[in-house]
């Protein structure tokens, strides 16, 4: 799928685009190619913003991706649902942080950043 603007995609296409962007991000992050990883990350950010903008039904679809078979999709779905489904999303990140190499590091980092924010708020 080409990088069509998120707003132009229908709901189903948007979720597919999210999965594709998550996989792309994971591949580049695993390779250590930060430039490409950051481009893929920007795409993930844009898509997740559009998902949240469309409302609760689409956010619900994002929450369903916490059970996706691909771990990088799980990771990004969890990262972007921490505020709306904190228990389940944090549980997914805790499970993923024990994964070796890049995925574990990413999950650990996002979880730590989220916990630090919670401490600051409280």
């Amino acid at each position: 799928m080409t990088n069509k603007a998120s707003v132009e995609l229908d709901d189903r296409e948007l979720l597919s685009a999210f999965e594709a962007a998550a996989i792309s991000f994971g591949l580049e992050f695993e390779k250590g190619d930060s430039k490409k990883a950051n481009r893929a990350y920007a795409r993930c950010e844009a898509i997740q913003a559009e998902i949240h903008r469309r409302g609760s039904s689409m956010v619900g679809c994002l929450i369903e991706l916490l059970d996706a078979p691909l771990p990088w999709v799980q990771y990004l779905a969890a990262a972007y649902t921490l505020d709306v489904e904190p228990n389940k999303a944090a549980a997914v990140l805790r499970k993923l942080k024990d994964t070796p190499m890049a995925l574990g590091v990413a999950a650990f980092t996002t979880l730590r950043a989220w916990e630090m924010k919670r401490v600051q708020i409280n």
């Binding site: 390779k31 250590g32 993930c44 972007y80 942080k97 070796p100 590091v105 990413a106 996002t110 950043a113």
Partner: protein, 318 residues
């Protein structure tokens, strides 16, 4: 240029016999190597090599390092002398405690420059050819400094240190000269201690502090100065800063804390590339920052804890 690299596979080992098959003291966590104890947590011996070094091989002059900083190809069961790892001719299987090597090149000779290709991303010189390194250094402006390039070199300073043991004005003069050389070479800790030795009143205090410096408890002015003292990380390895050496960290914590053996770990080059890529990447939850930017305002300890966790995830440390 993509180099063929050794691959290390890691597995959990609950045996009391750990690094190179030597017995680990359960209480201290140190490995018994006949003549000396080896601290696997620091990657170095706890006492100096009584055999001493070879002036033609700068790596051997650091009497606390293990097998010329090249444990992939050498072993030291006696605690006195490195020897070729038996059965290390590629394809073996082992753990971090018993590293396993799959390689496509013969082991380097233990003399001279066999260990001189350190090129941390911090100061990348991706070649083991000295000429290419010189060109790369001049192009990058990093100017990696070898021990032999330092003012006076180790031999002269070693002589001054010996002369410094002579009581009276000769010893005092030698210590002051040695301190000046250390200062020039960026070894602030050594410089201060040599000055301290020049004062008769400090006596044992100075000796203890000097031992602390020799043990790597006081860091260096720059990464180049660190590498000049410790040499390369080993064949196919690069030094990695656990707490990053970015400018705000150097300003906040001081170069001594950053360029210190306590803050360094040798990492296989390919993994080092991935780890550095990780620090330059953006991740959800970091407010649009890269990991490095997100870490920057955090405390030294928080950054260190994070860095150690990253190394665990990548299987570098247990």
């Amino acid at each position: 240029m993509r180099m063929l690299l050794p691959t290390i596979r890691l597995q959990v080992c609950a045996s009391a016999y750990k690094f190179t098959g030597e017995e680990r003291d359960a209480e201290s966590g140190n490995d018994y190597m006949s003549a000396r104890y080896f601290a696997s947590s620091m990657g170095r011996f706890l006492s100096p090599d009584i055999v001493g070094g070879d002036l033609s091989n700068p790596q051997s002059l650091n009497r606390y390092t293990y097998v010329l900083n090249n444990p992939l190809f050498w072993t030291d069961p006696s605690g006195f002398q490195e020897q070729v790892r038996t059965g290390s001719s590629c394809g073996n299987v082992g753990t971090l405690d018993n590293p396993v090597i799959q390689c496509s090149s013969p082991p380097p000779a233990p003399s001279g420059g066999g260990n001189s290709s350190d090129s941390g991303v911090d100061s990348e010189l991706p070649t083991s050819n000295p000429d290419e390194q010189a060109v790369a250094a001049s192009l990058s402006g990093s100017g990696s400094v070898s021990a032999g390039q330092e003012l006076g070199g180790g031999l002269v300073q070693g002589g001054l240190d010996m002369a410094g043991l002579i009581p009276g004005p000769i010893g005092m003069g030698a210590n002051i000269a040695s301190a000046g050389m250390s200062l020039y070479n960026g070894h602030y800790g050594a410089a201060a201690l040599s000055f301290a030795f020049a004062l008769p009143v400090v006596g044992q205090l100075g000796a203890d502090a000097h031992a602390a410096f020799e043990a790597g408890e006081i860091g260096y002015r720059s990464f180049d100065a660190f590498k000049a003292a410790y040499g390369a990380a080993g064949e196919g390895m690069q030094w990695h800063h656990i707490v990053g050496q970015f400018s705000s960290n150097v300003e906040r914590f001081g170069p001594g804390a950053i360029h210190d053996m306590e803050n360094m770990v040798a990492v296989p080059k390919d993994l080092h590339f991935q780890i550095n890529g990780h620090y330059s990447s953006k991740l959800p939850g970091l407010g649009g920052q890269t990991v490095r930017e997100w870490l920057a305002p955090q405390s030294f300890q928080a950054q260190r804890d994070y860095g150690l966790q990253v190394l665990r995830n990548y299987g570098i440390i247990p």
